[in-house]
Symmetry: C2
Subunit: 140 residues, 2 copies
DNA sequence: TTAATTGCAAAGGTTTTGCCGCCGC
DNA sequence: GCGGCGGCAAAACCTTTGCAATTAA
């Protein structure tokens, strides 16, 4: 039985990750668990508000960040806090320091030619970007 | 002679990309061209302001976005506009629709084991993320 | 009981927008 | 001269923070 989880299961999951269990957290995790849409905090808030109209957006932000912190969920996008620019337009990738946010270049040497898509992928892919995360020479 | 470009060269570059030439644009492009720091708009603003104290931050934002739009520079990070979350924590990558920002999953099938770093890379890499960009089934 | 969590509202920070005068072409 | 661009300030967002009240354990 993999398919469905009832509330009891979700409670267990939160506990596994060392999280205190609240109705808000259950609702937020369930909402995220039952969608493939990779929703933003705002979208999750709108969703959860249907069942718990008193929930606040701030709580959704705090909770998602907490989930991410303990590894219960993934987060897409926040490689750097703000947009960063680069005059070098040769194909290359970047490595971002998780501590000081400095960025280094990685020459194409990486992989790349190996980026092949699974059969039946419905997206039409234009380009890709590999972002590595780690420590820069100064922070490590 | 590859190494240095004088002002005349920068003017030519802007024209090549169909951009109108102004002192602000020259200064912004030069500032970005002469650094490896992958600066943010704010940092570029501070830099350019030394030579052109009257320049405005809004102009820097508009200009960088214009440069990016025509392909004169690269932008690191803005895969999605806001943070997006995912309850699936199995290792996998994402493909983001450049038009509607919807996100699809790409199973590990991609490459990955092939991500090898160039010799002498000074960063200590912890993990990496492959982000593909393209059109979703609905937008293509 | 005690520490963590929630809700609310305010603040912080980045980026966008509108408008008008100015400048490149 | 015309359309694009720059400066300025306001606005729009997204996200974080502070605090008092509430709740989980």
């Amino acid at each position: 039985m993999e398919g469905k989880r009832d509330d009891k299961d979700f409670i267990a999951v939160l506990r596994e990750y060392g999280l205190q269990v609240t109705y808000q957290r259950l609702a937020i995790y369930q909402a995220l668990y039952h969608t493939k849409e990779h929703p933003s905090a705002e979208v999750i808030y709108q969703q959860v508000k249907k069942r718990f109209p008193m929930i606040s957006l701030g709580t959704v932000y705090k909770t998602l960040e907490r989930f991410y912190e303990v590894g219960l969920i993934q987060k897409v996008s926040p490689v750097t806090e703000v947009a960063r620019y680069d005059a070098n337009i040769d194909p290359h990738h970047h490595v971002v320091c998780v501590k000081c946010q400095s960025i280094g270049d990685i020459d194409q040497v990486v992989s790349d030619q190996k980026i092949t898509l699974p059969e039946g992928n419905p997206f039409q892919v234009l380009r890709h970007q590999v972002v590595l995360q780690g420590y820069c020479p100064h922070c490590k």
